[in-house]
């Protein structure tokens, strides 16, 4: 008789866990293949419309277009204004702003 002992149940559930993990990888691989066309379409729109950023946060201009932002946009209200947009706390500063913020 299968699963007579508790260790049998344990090993079976372990096997189910490993199987689920394999299914995750399989689903990811299949989805990537199926989404190729969507990615191509998005890429084409970016090229044609000359877009620079993902539309993830629309609440503040420096999180809507982080790559186009300057270092001082979070202090837009006055020099001592604290960051108040939630998305501003989620995103880290774009690396090119740390390296060179010329022109000010």
């Amino acid at each position: 008789m299968i699963l007579q002992r508790k260790s049998d149940v344990f090993f079976s559930s372990l096997a189910v866990g490993v199987l689920l993990m394999c299914l995750i990888f399989l689903d990811a691989a299949v989805s990537q293949r199926l989404d190729r066309e969507v990615v191509r379409e998005r890429r084409e729109i970016v090229r044609v419309l000359e877009l620079t950023d993902l539309c993830l946060f629309t609440e503040a201009r420096y999180t809507r277009h982080p790559s186009m932002a300057d270092l001082h946009t979070p202090f837009q209200d006055h020099p001592l204004a604290l960051e108040h947009f939630p998305s501003g706390s989620v995103m880290a500063i774009p690396p090119h702003l740390k390296l060179q913020d010329s022109g000010e």
Binding site: R5, K6, S7, V9, F10, L14, G17, V18, L20, M21, I24, F25, D27, A28, S31, Q32, V39, E41, R42, R43, I45, V46, R47, L49, E50, L51, T52, D53, L54, C55, L56, F57, T58, E59, R61, R64, H65, P66, S67, M68, A69, D70, L71, H72, F85, P86, S87, S89, V90, M91, A92, I93, P94, P95, H96, Q100, D101, S102, G103, E104
Partner: protein
């Protein structure tokens, strides 16, 4: 008795022992699963966003030139184009006109952008899916249809009615959700931007290797300009969603350390019952190594169960339920939030990171205190 059979007997005993403290262990597995779920969800979401950004933004402009005044981006005079065009290696320079528009009716922010193809169709616009659902907040189930007219308030208070000519595909929502494409004439009607100014300039170069040199020359000719390279844009999305930095790490670290305290407390503070159990096992002839094996299996059973469940639930959450639990957090104050389905990207590195951050520490904190109890005299352990 073979080595394998011995292990199975010890495992049988361990599982029975866990079953005797059912309530406590189930509560522990639930909390443990939740921590792994949270960690895995953040990891899956940020990695997929990064991967998606790196693929989609491959064809973003090679170089964008902005003008900075007093540390802020300002409108760039169109005559800057002439000098930039003279730089060797520059193929073309085109001005871009774009800006933000606050729609008081829905409370949403749109990105208004001039599209050359609409220049012959003044009075018409093409909108993103998010904009078409703009009335959803005030009038549920009311979307904008083709040929509907949307009113846009201009800088001087008058209203420009613009007819919806078409929609940007919903599959491109990740980049176009808040986009409104307008003609140049309409754009300049809405915003007070003089004809000789643009928002920024977009460059095409003949040889990608010369980008840095051309950027340096531009800042030499126009010191108030800032060139942003495609590489910078791609790096931005690699950095802004780095789960190992920023507030995301702070939030995760809070949850993770709360779990460590829980696990440590559970594991170090062996209950009198558990200590007595160890004492009895030693008294009836179990070796210290057998007890450690038993505790290893205990830690492995709890942590592996939580590990598999946590990862599976996180995968469902991010890729099938569109990160529904993170939505309020990601949405912030945005009225217009894109609804997109991310392509799942899962790799061995993510799973290994999660494994070493959760399963290994828990298994270790389970074994160490038991080793201490198992090495002392069984008689004194049972008297405790």
């Amino acid at each position: 008795m073979g080595a394998l059979e011995k292990q199975r007997h010890i495992l049988d005993f361990t599982l029975s022992s866990l079953g005797r403290r059912k309530g406590k262990n189930i509560a522990l597995i639930i909390v443990y699963t939740f921590v792994i779920f949270l960690l895995a969800s953040v990891l899956f979401l940020t990695d997929s966003l990064k991967k998606e950004a790196s693929q989609i933004l491959q064809d973003t402009p090679e170089m964008t030139v902005q003008r900075l005044v007093a540390g802020r981006q300002d409108l760039i005079p169109v005559h800057y184009i002439e000098a930039i065009k003279q730089i060797k290696g520059v193929q073309s320079v085109t001005p871009r006109l774009w800006g933000y528009y606050y729609d008081a009716r829905s409370g949403a922010n749109y990105t208004l952008m001039v599209n050359a193809e609409l220049n012959d169709h003044a009075g018409e616009i093409i909108i993103g899916t998010g904009v078409s659902m703009r009335n959803a907040t005030s009038m549920p189930n009311h979307a904008v249809w083709k040929n509907d007219v949307l009113p846009f308030k201009t800088y001087d208070g008058s209203v420009v009615p613009l007819k919806v000519k078409g929609f940007l595909s919903s599959s491109s929502e990740l980049v176009t959700s808040d986009l409104v494409l307008v003609s140049e004439a309409d754009f300049r009607k809405i915003f007070p931007i003089a004809k000789d100014h643009a928002t920024d300039l977009v460059l095409k170069v003949r040889n990608g290797k010369e980008l840095a040199t051309i950027a340096a020359k531009i800042t030499q000719i126009h010191p108030d300009c800032r060139p942003i390279l495609r590489e910078d844009i791609l790096r931005t999305y690699n950095a802004v969603f780095d789960w190992r930095g920023g507030v995301i790490l702070m939030v995760l670290a809070g949850g993770f350390f709360a779990f460590i305290i829980l696990a440590w407390d559970k594991a170090t503070g062996l209950s009198a019952e558990e200590k007595r159990e160890i004492g009895i096992l030693k008294a009836i002839g179990w070796e210290t190594s057998d007890i450690l094996l038993m505790k290893f299996w205990e830690g492995a059973a709890v942590s592996l169960t939580a590990f598999f469940m946590g990862i599976f639930l996180a995968y469902l959450h991010i890729f099938l339920a569109s990160s529904i639990l993170f939505e309020p957090f990601l949405k912030g104050w945005s009225v217009l939030y894109p609804h997109f389905r991310l392509t799942p990207y899962v790799n061995g590195y993510q799973i290994a990171v999660l494994f070493f951050l959760t399963v290994i520490p828990y298994t270790v904190v389970t074994i160490v205190p038991s080793w201490r109890s198992a090495t002392i005299d069984p008689d004194s352990v049972m008297r405790m």
